[in-house]
Point group: C2
DNA sequence: AAGTATTGCGAAAACGGTTTCGTGTTGATA
DNA sequence: TATCAACACGAAACCGTTTTCGCAATACTT
């Protein structure tokens, strides 16, 4: 058990002042060759490492980024974290992860915990409860204090800050168009209620593609699930009451789950009914048949978010200009549709 | 933009000393009713919150936990993180997540970044490269400095610290026994090389069950994958060269992937060939057929790890006693075996 | 030899809190 | 009226750095 050594310890041992030690370790011009070598050798010998906390206090920079997300077991969020980690780590930043578990209160508590000096900025995606409530005061407080915030994926227009999203509307549009091109006539959509910003946008893309086509819109072909929980009967009824030949799902879980129910009904995929989901996760890759998806490029999203945040953190000027980066989704073709 | 207010600011405004403000906010007996009320009202009005960094520096406690794991996109690890988060948050701790990406160097760098005051303790699972190399000096250094460490899942005996694992051997034993009970005769195992502590233990459980039975061991029925990458041809050849009716896989990805290859060969699951995997993730749940797995109870593991760590961090005495908690795995029966 | 630069280093303030100890004021006691 | 607690507060040290500024001692001018 060898306790950490401090500047003071080195100073005492070498009979110089703390300031001298500090400067010597920074290779300052002020200090003579001799002294520098002596100090540096001693420091290396005893494996001196400066105390991060003291440094943080001094320059009011923690080199920590707070990431607040609704759920970590969701594949998309883990890929975003990975992207954030990657970029942040390369820049010498650590990532503090907090989970809101889709709860407004937890989101608020987590932000308050971190906002008192623990972090230099936030990267977040709003909890569904927050989006439903439409209460963003906790975000406002943080930005008012001059703490930079980057919102990704689940965002709000009520807060002025940098944002990163994919073009959800375009993704849904592309997917729907693909169905249409392949001759599908009865294209359904399975989504959540509109309170999630992404669900809303995706539904719009779906509608847009249908409106542009000769098929037209049939609102009854949109199934809105009230929660993220899987409602087996609801989906079965939906399938029974419509003659569908294609389904666009707002996430991969809905898609894979629905595929199974369709298969149980004796339908062949993609001949009788084709599927496209959102989120390019493990599930899509290993599903049977493998699922065609609109990839959201989570890792990229994380990197871009981290870059935006760190740029803001490290910029001297307090420019009050914010940007919204819109990433292009791509279609990853797999066996749940015709190739 | 309202900047953070400090004790000094309050003291100046109220024309009292900083110490008085500090004590008043802590409701100290020393301070008069009047002054306390005045100070507290002022603090509330201006939304004073103490600076975490200053407090950390003072009492040498950060209330941060460092979590270093090989991979975050792996479902098991995300559930562990969720468990850690849950317990840690309830205790007022934040979780700093670092990814080693299975690399020894990254693991070392991450630990060094955090070990200089940023965290009160580590919870980690070793990268595969670290387990292969058998070099644990970075862990030794940290424990030597008196920083508590808890290892989970991928552990080593070379470091004295608290550990949390599931009984991997028992899990594999249970699974294999299940196959035997159901009359399976040719039970294979698909695993990684033995350098991963968990793979080794699981293989042993598999062997133990077979030895106890009349079936006996056939080493050629163990397929060892050199990496985590899926080797389609390797698995196909394995299936072609053996008459198998059951396969135990060391994780769910191997299992789901192998199931698909088996199905492509025209085999029915579970009638012709049954599958059991490890890790109770999304993949198992939504696979077709859904996969029977040995559940590792990741969330529980995270909670237990966090509890062990925080207990140690907050205990005054430096007891040098370490415990290893062994969690019981359970079999989650799904459609890839007979019910 | 006197004055000026240069070099090398240390004292001290600052970051934002906590905490120990000391002290002036008050009221009660003898 | 002198003595002493109790009360209410402030000064200052401390946590481990960084950084400014001042000041010796030496070297360089003329």
């Amino acid at each position: 058990m060898k306790p950490k050594i401090t500047l003071k310890d080195i100073a005492r041992e070498l009979e110089v002042s703390i300031s001298t030690v500090s400067k010597a370790l920074k290779n300052s011009e002020e200090i003579s060759r001799d002294t520098k070598e002596k100090v540096q050798a001693f420091a290396k010998l005893y494996n001196y490492k400066p105390n991060n906390i003291a440094i943080s206090l001094k320059n009011k920079r923690t080199k920590n980024i707070g990431v607040v997300i609704p759920d970590i077991v969701h594949h998309f969020f883990t890929t975003v974290i990975r992207g954030i980690e990657k970029y942040a780590n390369a820049k010498g930043y650590n990532v503090i992860v907090c989970l809101s578990e889709e709860s407004f209160d937890k989101e608020v508590i987590n932000m308050e915990m971190l906002a008192n000096g623990s972090i230099d900025g936030f990267i977040m995606s709003l909890s569904s409860e927050t989006q439903q409530k439409g209460d963003f005061n906790h975000l406002k407080e943080v930005t008012d204090q001059g703490i930079p915030v980057v919102l990704f994926d689940r965002i709000t227009n009520e807060i002025d800050c940098d944002k990163v999203i994919i073009d959800d509307e375009l993704g849904a549009y592309m997917a729907t168009k693909k169905f249409i091109e392949q001759g599908k006539k009865n294209i359904a959509m399975i989504t959540t209620d509109d309170y999630l910003s992404v669900s809303k946008a995706r539904t719009q893309g779906y509608l847009k593609a249908l409106k542009e086509s000769k098929l037209g819109v049939d609102e009854s072909k949109i199934l809105k699930m009230p929660t993220m929980e899987m409602d087996e009967q609801g989906i079965k009824d939906f399938f029974d009451s419509h003659e569908l030949d294609a389904v666009l799902c707002v996430n991969e879980i809905f898609a894979v789950y629905s595929m199974r129910l369709a298969q149980q009904k004796g339908l062949r995929i993609p001949e009788d009914i084709a599927f496209i989901g959102f989120t390019d996760g493990l599930l899509s890759k290993y599903a049977n048949p493998s699922l065609t998806v609109v990839s959201q490029h989570g890792e990229k999203m994380g990197e871009v978010s981290a870059k935006l945040l760190i740029d803001k953190v490290e910029s001297e000027e307090e420019e009050e200009t914010y940007q919204t980066k819109i990433l292009e989704p791509t279609l990853v073709i797999r066996d749940s549709i015709f190739h």
